[in-house]
């Protein structure tokens, strides 16, 4: 069974298409990241999947349940970290967790041990009886993540989970996400514009811009799709004056050449076949080659190219959070 399946999911706010025919298939126990700039439609997509917004067109199934019919059951089986930590600041961390535990019908006898367990996971125990309003931004975010996972949901939507966390805290959160996905088979749907995080965490990523899914796959698959843009660097022990002519004769595009550092960066079509030929030719022509290195397109490069190709995203400035 798929954890999330959308079918041309579309949301319009007046004339603005915030999400445009989104088609996703997310498997159980998968960590899926939806990448996109601000206003791309990530939060709106999650809000539709959690029943906070009604789709204008299309539909979706979450945990096998239709979002137009089984919203209450979906809400009770998923966890949702919203864009803001959304903690009750006058209440203590314990009271915040206890309140949501009761909303999600966690049995009374399990609440206390679960609070202790989850605050240990997220390194929060000393803050348990402090009012949430006195916590740092990062601590609030950790409490909010703990709250989203408290009732052990099968599917967890995390909207920018590590946005305000310190590198150490972000590492703790990432480790917990990976552990929960692997050991407890929980599915994670992460909205982020943190490419580093998406690449390290996710089995697959989707790139969304202007509400449209512009690319999808594992980070490796996305790189494979763009393998023609791999840069190959040839470094020499001595610089020969005819280096440029050599590559021009072989009809290889030079991206950069650096005489002082003695290297040439190139873009080679069909690198698997071509690279050995070029190395042989260089050796025959007495070039003193010391290193050949492929720089595969990073997720960041792919993302930026896709987003730039689509144009600057519009902010969702005709929507007002209330």
């Amino acid at each position: 069974m798929l954890a999330v399946e959308t079918n041309n999911l579309t949301k319009m706010f007046h004339k603005l298409k915030a999400v445009d025919e989104l088609n996703l298939e997310i498997k159980e126990a998968e960590i899926y990241s939806l990448l996109g700039p601000n206003g791309a439609g990530k939060t709106t997509s999650v809000r539709m999947l959690t029943g906070l917004l009604r789709p204008t067109m299309g539909g979706a199934r979450v945990l096998g349940l239709d979002i137009s019919e089984n919203l209450q059951e979906i809400r009770s089986r998923v966890g949702h970290l919203t864009e803001t930590p959304a903690l009750y600041e006058r209440l203590t961390v314990r009271q915040n967790l206890d309140f949501f535990a009761k909303l999600y019908k966690v049995p009374e006898t399990e609440i206390k041990p679960r609070i202790e367990e989850i605050v240990d996971l997220f390194e929060l125990p000393e803050k348990l009886d402090d009012p949430a309003g006195t916590l740092s931004k990062g601590m609030k975010q950790k409490v909010a993540i703990a709250r989203a996972m408290f009732h052990k949901p099968e599917l967890i939507f995390l909207d920018e989970p590590t946005a305000s966390l310190s590198p150490e805290s972000a590492k703790v959160v990432r480790e917990q996400i990976i552990k929960l996905a692997k050991k407890e088979k929980r599915t994670f749907f992460i909205c982020t514009h943190n490419l580093f995080e998406a690449e390290r965490l996710s089995s697959r990523v989707g790139i969304i811009n202007h509400g449209r899914l512009v690319a999808q796959g594992s980070p490796a698959e996305l790189r494979e799709m763009r393998k023609d843009e791999t840069i190959t660097i040839f470094r020499f022990s001595t610089w020969e004056s005819n280096t440029k002519e050599f590559f021009d004769d072989m009809k290889i595009e030079i991206v950069e050449q650096n005489q002082d550092k003695k290297y040439v960066s190139t873009i080679i079509k069909d690198i698997e076949k071509q690279t050995p030929n070029i190395i042989n030719s260089l050796a025959k022509s007495n070039f003193q080659l010391v290193e050949v290195k492929h720089e595969f397109p990073t997720l960041e490069r792919i993302y930026l190219e896709l987003v730039e190709m689509e144009g600057v995203p519009r902010e969702e400035n005709n929507m007002e959070e209330i």
Partner: protein, 273 residues
């Protein structure tokens, strides 16, 4: 309706409210003003006047004397000064009954629009709470402090006025059926109605300040309703009072239905400009 969720929501709201100095000062301060300061400043000067000053004046209209003679056991023996004090005490008691109308403007704004303003609403709406549970929970958590404040005010008001007036009447005021119906039936119903109207307002506004401003408009028709109920009893009959209560009850049910229908998750999350 899941009572566990409802109880959790009410518990959370009440805990939050009582940690807010602003709400606490309204819930405690308003009864003090209406139940302590107003009777002391209005009735005490009359109590302090020499009884001889009241002698030889005009008689009250027979309608008043008959009405109060029915409610107050020692009406005739209270004398002119005592009778004026009794009438004043009953008129000021109506002000105590404004508390269940005014307090919800504060408590409901805090529990509903406060959630939006502090951006906690989305997490709440993403939970399995149904619309009916959410609206009912919010009504009850706004209603409880209002009714508690009113009961507290009525108790204090009753003690203070009886201490001042007992020497004239030798009987305890406000234990008559009308006063008790007002306190235990009409005040809670008005409070519910006021909260429901505030919930309707909350679907249209985005800040607590806006809610207060619109909330003050809600208070006015409800005050007219109180006056109407008093008049219906005094000038028409007990049956008219029962009819007025029935109308109030019907309005509460109608506005509950409207509030649960109007309260929409999508509208609560996104406001289209």
């Amino acid at each position: 309706m899941d009572w566990g969720r409802l109880k959790a929501l009410m518990g959370k709201d009440l805990r939050e409210m009582f940690k807010s100095k602003y709400i606490l000062s309204a819930v405690i301060g308003m009864p003090i003003v209406f139940a302590v300061l107003i009777p002391l400043s209005s009735l005490y000067p009359l109590v302090a006047i020499d009884p001889s000053e009241f002698e030889g004046g005009d008689e009250f209209p027979a309608y008043f004397t008959d009405l109060f003679a029915e409610v107050i056991p020692n009406w005739d023996a209270a004398g002119a000064q005592g009778q004026i004090l009794i009438i004043m005490a009953y008129l000021l008691y109506i002000m105590v009954l404004l508390i269940p109308i005014i307090l919800p403007a504060v408590t409901a704004s805090e529990t509903i629009i406060g959630e939006k303003e502090r951006k906690t609403m989305e997490a709440l709406l993403a939970s399995p709470l149904s619309e009916t549970e959410l609206v009912t929970g919010k009504i009850l958590s706004s209603f409880i402090p209002s009714v508690a404040g009113t009961a507290f005010a009525a108790l204090i008001y009753g003690i203070i006025t009886n201490i001042m007036i007992y020497p004239f009447t030798n009987s305890i005021l406000f234990l008559d059926p009308l006063s008790l119906v007002f306190l235990f039936v009409i005040a809670p119903l008005l409070s519910i109605l006021s909260v429901e109207l505030m919930i309707l307002i909350s679907t249209r506004v985005t800040s607590v300040r806006d809610a207060y401003q619109l909330g003050s408009l809600v208070v006015l028709p409800l005050m007219m309703l109180i006056i109407g109920i008093v008049v219906s009893y005094f000038f028409i009959s007990t049956i008219a009072l029962i009819g007025a209560v029935a109308i109030l009850l019907t309005l509460c049910v109608i506005f509950f239905k409207i509030a649960t229908n109007v309260f929409d998750r999508e509208r609560a999350i996104v406001k289209l400009v």
